[in-house]
Symmetry: C2
Subunit: 301 residues, 2 copies
């Protein structure tokens, strides 16, 4: 099937394009972006022009930041295309509800992707926890914003989520693997005095689970999650690419998050179904509402 | 039917108790509160003690602020009681989803009330708008926090919502009367430098609707909403207690918000159904996530 990619920035180059090039389901037939393009692929700078010129391409994957993405996704759905969204699926919950309603009315697929859920260890952890009672847990999601979002001021603007941009990956895994839903009971948000969104956060959830997100750590990232039960704990390491149960490493399938997302999108389009899960985004909105804000040192790139 | 009232503070005395005393459906059979009580009504300081002592009282209405309310509501649902919640129904969206799930599992009624939706003019406005296209709108929700929440520091604490505590009333009306859902596109939140939550907010919604919430206005409150269409506008005045269509006042039924809520709760319990609508709360969570924060003058009572 032909697919177009909209928003050719860092995440498109790092993940989407390689995943599409390796895919047996998809042919990258066009790009739509104000700046970036891909050699050998037809390019449009404007979505409207693309929609008019290429009615044969029925599927569009949108990779730009959440704030500008909504209007484009709506335009695509209104033109009868299937839509796949990078995470987070929107700048607001209500706008994603709106897209889901529209996709439903038009009988098109909307897929709100959470790439971290496709990490190799996630399904292992989920299966193991399914029959157990969670007694506590600990998430450490710590990285260097200068490495992962170099110069990308939008992450510190309203709607850009700040440290919840990586943190929502942890929350997408947490909400996938736990047998019972969690919710937030307390949060502290550390906001640089010259920025709008948090650079660090401490979160306390039900089921005895706590999280620390921090964007100020130079060096290699820490993306670990450990969920405890009476029969030992399951530990997801390096964003779920490795998994240990009761201290023992467990064999997993290959680690291929974006290829798995595109495989899932192919299934959804073939079956004419949607996949819209907002649970990770609800937890972030709740943290933004309930969190106590503390002003911390100014941040500059 | 017998009912217990939990959280005997200002809103209970101003609204819930008079509504229950005037009701033909309900008998106020107990109160549960750390401090306040009602003369001639059996009183408990602890919910657990009440649940044990009075299994005959199957319905509890909770009026305390949202942060402490969740644990109590959950305890009541777990003990098999029907639950009615003051607005907003929780400090987080996820915790209300949790209560709704629990109520569903136990076959109990959960009613997330929005008292402003019961204002006399609301159904008139809704009926009139149902067949029309909205072209714009303006909400002004302006009052003096010192008059409406005297000394209540919790409104400025995380989870207390700040000016969205009254503003969510406007949003509950807006989401009730519009024929198509709205969502937020931009927001500015003015937060006193010594407080956690906004004292004022400017909101821009889709469909050309804008809102101004402000808690700093001495004197009588302004609670007005005007929704425009090609065939003139509908105006809800004084929180919806009066309504004008194309400049002409329209006759309404009596203005009795809390009596109408308790009438609805009686219906829900009799039919064993739920009424959980989180749309106003989603808009507030979205404003808290997407809003640009500006620091303004410190606030003291």
């Amino acid at each position: 099937m032909k697919i177009a990619l909209s928003g050719i920035g860092k995440i498109a180059r790092d993940q989407h394009i390689p995943a599409l090039e390796a895919s047996e389901d998809w042919e990258l037939a066009a790009t739509i972006s104000r700046s970036g393009q891909v050699e050998g692929v037809e390019h449009f700078t404007d979505l409207g022009a693309f929609l008019e010129a290429r009615p044969d391409i029925e599927v569009i994957s949108f990779c730009q930041p959440p704030v500008p993405r909504y209007a484009l996704a709506r335009q695509a759905l209104e033109a009868g295309r299937h839509v796949m969204l990078e995470k987070p699926p929107g700048a607001t919950l209500a706008e994603v509800h709106d897209l889901a309603r529209l996709a439903g009315e038009r009988g098109r697929t909307l897929y709100t992707t959470w790439h971290s859920r496709m990490a190799a260890g996630v399904s292992v952890a989920k299966d193991w926890l399914a029959t157990r009672e969670v007694t506590g847990g600990r998430i450490d999601w710590i990285e260097d914003v200068k490495q992962w979002h170099p110069g990308q001021d939008w992450v510190f603007e309203p709607g850009g989520l700040g440290v919840f941009d990586p943190g929502i990956n942890a929350l997408s895994i947490l909400t996938e693997i736990l047998p019972r839903p969690v919710f937030l009971t307390e949060a502290t948000l550390e906001v640089p005095e010259n920025r709008q969104t948090p650079i660090a956060a401490q979160l306390q959830f039900t089921q005895g689970i706590e999280a620390r997100f921090d964007w100020r750590e130079a060096g290699p990232p820490t993306w670990n999650m450990e969920i405890e039960t009476a029969e030992g704990s399951v530990k997801l390491i390096r964003g779920g690419s490795r998994v240990e149960i009761a201290g023992e490493a467990v064999e997993t399938g290959p680690h291929a998050e974006y290829p798995a997302l595109y495989e899932r999108m192919a299934e959804l389009v073939l079956h004419g179904t949607q996949d819209v899960d907002l649970a990770p985004m609800v937890l972030v909105a709740d943290a933004m509402s309930l969190g106590r804000r503390e002003s911390v040192a100014a941040f500059e790139w």
